[in-house]
Amino acid sequence: MITLKGLHKTFNAKSGVVKAVDDVNIEIEKGEIFGIIGYSGAGKSTLIRMLNLLERPTDGTVSIDGMDLSRLKGKELRKARQEISMVFQHFNLLWSRTVKENIAFPLEIAGVSSTERKKRVDELVKLVGLEGRENAYPSQLSGGQKQRVGIARALANNPKVLLCDEATSALDPKTTDSILDLLVDINKQLGLTIVLITHEMHVIRKICHRVAVMENGRIVEQGHVLEVFQNPKEDITRDFVNQLADPGDIHKTLDHLAEEYPEGKVVNLTFVQESAEKPLISDVLRKFAVDINILQGKISQTQEGAYGKLSVLLQGEEKDIQEAIAYMESHHVGVEVIQNA
């Protein structure tokens, strides 16, 4: 559906040449939700803006549905853009227009007749759950409602692709979740391909099928969300994955526990898909002469199955502990031993 080949973007800023995007190659399938994660300044916005040519690539090609976008100009480009919608972090609604009028905006640009426009706007208002707020101005809406308008507006011309530039980064966690749910709904109902960029692993976990990790303009790692979660290869990816499992200072607590029980081992277990649902702990208890103390744990759902993290304290003979760990590893569970400090 979307093919990025050898994509480069360099800016000649006052401070020197900035390689914002550096040799990016990505293939995105039709109907998938593809996430790109990276810290601020990684080049994510520049990359996503090249997908609708708001930014022209310095080198490389962007093709969408077999059409080489980077060659288009003027009228053809504007026409193509109607099929590649974008949702923005700061919503970018026209304050001078009501909800309805904002949603009608792209329809006016596409030259849709006013009766058709009315009909379509009503459908969209329903789709994003804004019934009753049609005639409000953006300044009268909450952040989440504004983003719903942004999404409705983006869907107005039945696009093939929806680009989301940090669409939830300006929202609180609860509103973020409701917007993410809406995006998943739209993806399923309309079979829409969604490309989103974010700096929050939570967003990737909750809605993406595949993820690419971006650092200094390059894609350093990409793959299915669960695979990347289970087996992160790069340090930056590990940081992002840990950001998800650890609500803050748990690592410190685990180090502390490792000190407190020198005779035992504090171990982090990562479960993915089937292994998350098997009675592994009771198996281990039955088969090996070890005690297991559960310290903390969390299971989260991703678009492709469950993903769990469990921190346990294993106590017993060193030999038994080693055997238990080997057993768990052989059952596709990631095992990370927290070293005694």
Partner: protein, 222 residues
């Protein structure tokens, strides 16, 4: 009672002068609004980093605007005499004041328009581009509506300046309240005529300000 307090005021002449002032103001405000918006849009769009970035055109318009904005109005009228005579075939009457009023006010307003347009959220312009809007659609569906409150409050300030310009123009031959106050009031030592003319000018200014404020407020949904 009016006779007693303002013995020298010819109310018919006063009314005629008021109508002339209103006429000059109205025509020049409308022309300034249109011309100022065109110049302001050109200034904005040709500025570095904008859609029609063009150093030469931007420099030419900016110079024109700055020069005409800086010339004191009374001198501008004198400088424009040949132009006015060529255009209007006369230096007297309300119409003769119009070229100078418009040339004096449009650059002044163009700057305000440019500032108003710069305040329009870049993100909204970008969103419109991402929806496939062309330049013309961006101008009339985004830039102008999104800056309308500032455009209206700007034209209000300009309109008030224009009222006082009409008075100055009156002194050098155009009609209106300024002309009346100068000829009938000052030169014939009838301070009551000057006073009445002043009060009427003040009333016009107040009313313009109120209308401008009401419209600005009703447009601003931010």
């Amino acid at each position: 009672m009016l006779e007693q307090w303002f013995p020298n005021v010819d109310w018919e002449k006063m009314w005629e002068a008021t109508v002339q002032t209103l006429y000059m103001t109205a025509i020049s405000v409308v022309a300034t609004f249109i011309l100022g918006i065109i110049l302001g849009l050109l200034l904005f769009l040709t500025a570095p980093g904008n859609r029609w970035e063009n150093k030469v055109i931007n420099f030419i318009i900016a110079s024109f605007v700055n020069v005409f904005r800086s010339i004191p109005f009374i001198i501008l009228i004198i400088l424009l005499i040949p132009f006015t005579v060529w255009l209007m075939k006369s230096m007297l009457g309300a119409n003769a004041a119009l070229p100078a009023l418009i040339v004096g006010a449009a650059p002044f307003y163009a700057r305000m328009v440019e500032i108003a347009l710069r305040e329009v959220d870049k993100g909204v312009i970008e969103a419109s581009q991402s929806m496939g809007a062309n330049d013309w659609e961006i101008i009339y569906k985004v830039l102008l509506p999104e800056s309308m409150p500032a455009l209206v409050s700007g034209i209000t300030v300009t309109a008030i300046a224009l009222v006082s310009y009409t008075a100055m123009a009156g002194v050098v031959g155009a009609g209106g309240l300024g002309n009346l106050a100068y000829l009938e009031g000052y030169q014939r030592s009838n301070p009551d005529v000057t006073l009445v003319a002043t009060v009427i000018i003040l009333l016009i200014v107040f009313i313009l300000q109120i209308i401008g404020d009401v419209i600005t407020r009703s447009l601003d949904k931010r």
